[in-house]
């Protein structure tokens, strides 16, 4: 009888400690957790005239680097500037009209497809529209 009473009280104590720990840990977890940005909620506007033909413009999109490229001969493309290999940030090489990832020599064409090096897949394309001289990404 004594042992079961002790076991019962011990179990209550452990349960209470667990509830208090969880109640304390949850706000701390939420406080520390990175704030999530839903890309669908983010819109970035860039004037078309800021991106000259044959050049690229890097910008921040939903907390991550992105790039607009104005291809020679016309046509715009917008990508995430994060290399699909190990997450380094790609660079635009104007002379070669392609992207180079300086970490491990990955190469992407102006269309975002892999042309050399270790990247396993093309650059992630971002949705955009062009209206009234402004490129709206997102």
């Amino acid at each position: 009888m004594e042992a079961s009473r002790r076991t019962f009280l011990g179990t209550c104590l452990v349960a209470m400690a667990a509830v208090i720990s969880a109640a304390s840990a949850y706000p701390i977890w939420r406080y520390l957790a990175p704030r999530k940005i839903n890309p669908a909620d983010v819109k970035v506007g860039i004037p078309v005239k800021e991106v000259l033909e044959g050049e690229a413009k890097f910008f921040d999109y939903a907390g991550s680097p992105a790039v607009i490229v104005h291809k020679r001969g016309g046509g715009l493309e917008v990508f995430s500037a994060v290399c699909t290999h190990l997450g380094c940030i790609i660079q635009w090489e104007k002379e070669k009209q392609d992207f180079l990832c300086p970490c491990h020599g990955g190469r992407f064409s102006a269309d975002g497809t892999v042309t050399g090096g270790p990247p396993p897949k093309p650059l992630n394309k971002l949705p955009f529209t062009v209206a009234d001289g402004t490129i709206t990404i997102g």
Partner: protein, 367 residues
């Protein structure tokens, strides 16, 4: 359970953990007439731990730059998930820490636990009290609100009354002639680095002294079997036949801690603006002084004392003398009697002092 027991066995054969538990916890005997006031030390340790954890969490988003501090605190309150809870716990906790510390000191005073051979315990505790006031004062500036800015201006300005070195001391404290960005840098370093390190060292010293001298027997309801210490040689005050710290007194500690947490969380959730006047929500402006700026409640008596004396130096001296007398009390009050009702002079002085402090605080609040 078997796995836990085997793990404990594994540790025990290496470092003798069961022996430490027997000696320091289950075999650590306390006086049979020990009362709840003795658990305030444990309550204070919990409060300090909460302050450290919430302070570290605040450091993640707080920016100690005069141009960004106020916005960073506003963002913590309004944007960061549960930031309001962490910040309120820290701000309310600092006030509660001063209150609990005052109660702890009063219990030690009335039960005569500061008396020989516990002079060092009292003095380390007193320095801890001063450091807690210091950490509260320095932390008050960090939100960089009108309240922080002008309360710090008033608080640091009082050192001007010290003859000869006063003005230089004020300039040194502020890092300039007026409170400004250099003050924030200094106070931030003191608040998050220097003073907490000092508090940790002093808590360690305070607990070490407590362990070496042994817990004092409350002066109520039990005749002291031990002969009083005569100062001839070191003696640990043990309590044969007393109650074990674990589980008996640990549960009493736990009860006091939960009572404290209930009061603390009641303020956090039901009266969160108790310690925040409206100036706390306005960013600091060095060109606009708000009317009737007041320090925190625990500095109101000091504030009012400075106001009632015609000369600030006299006000400061009176406070300095009072604090010094309190610090060296065990060397002044050398009688062996510890029961408060058998110490009429002590009772008259201490109750008079408490009423004076309360009176000055209320006067300071409404002045």
């Amino acid at each position: 359970m078997t796995l836990i027991n085997r793990l404990i066995d594994w540790i025990d054969v290496r470092i003798g953990i069961r022996e430490i538990t027997r000696k320091e916890l289950t075999g650590y005997l306390l006086p049979r007439n020990i009362n709840s006031w003795y658990s305030l030390g444990s309550v204070l340790l919990v409060i300090f731990a909460i302050q450290v954890v919430s302070g570290i969490l605040l450091l993640i988003y707080y920016v100690p730059d005069s141009g960004k501090a106020f916005k960073s605190v506003t963002d913590i309150m309004n944007v960061v998930p549960f930031g309001w809870l962490i910040r309120l716990c820290h701000a309310v906790g600092s006030n509660m820490m001063v209150l609990a510390l005052l109660l702890h000191m009063l219990s030690v005073l009335f039960m005569g636990s500061y008396k020989s051979p516990r002079e060092l315990n009292w003095m380390t505790g007193f320095i801890l009290f001063v450091m807690v006031l210091g950490i509260s004062l320095t932390g008050y500036l960090l939100p960089w609100s009108q309240l922080s800015f002008w309360a710090t201006t008033v608080a640091t300005n009082s050192a001007n009354a010290i003859p000869v070195i006063g003005p230089s001391l004020v300039e040194f404290l502020r890092g300039g002639t007026l409170v400004g960005p250099p003050t924030l840098g200094r106070f931030f370093a003191l608040h998050v680095g220097v003073i907490p390190a000092g508090i940790v060292i002093l808590i360690a010293a305070h607990l070490f002294l407590l362990k070496r001298t042994g817990i004092s027997t409350p002066p109520f309801g039990l005749n002291e079997a031990n002969k009083p210490w005569q100062g001839e040689s070191y003696r640990y005050e043990d309590h044969p036949g007393g109650i074990p710290f674990i589980p008996d007194y640990a549960l009493e500690d736990l009860r006091s801690i939960f009572i404290y947490l209930a009061c603390f969380l009641a303020v956090v959730f039901f009266d969160p603006s108790l310690f925040f006047p409206k100036e706390a929500f306005i960013p600091a402006n060095a060109f606009i002084t708000p009317a009737h700026i007041k320090p925190e409640w625990y500095f109101l008596a000091n504030y009012q004392t400075l106001k009632i004396f015609p000369n600030e130096f006299i006000g400061l001296t009176v406070q300095g003398v009072a604090m010094t007398l309190l610090a060296v009390l065990p060397f002044i009050d050398r009688g062996r009697e510890r029961h408060p009702l058998k110490r009429p002079l002590f009772m008259a002085c201490s109750i008079g002092g408490i009423l004076l402090w309360i009176g000055l605080t209320v006067w300071g609040h409404y002045s």
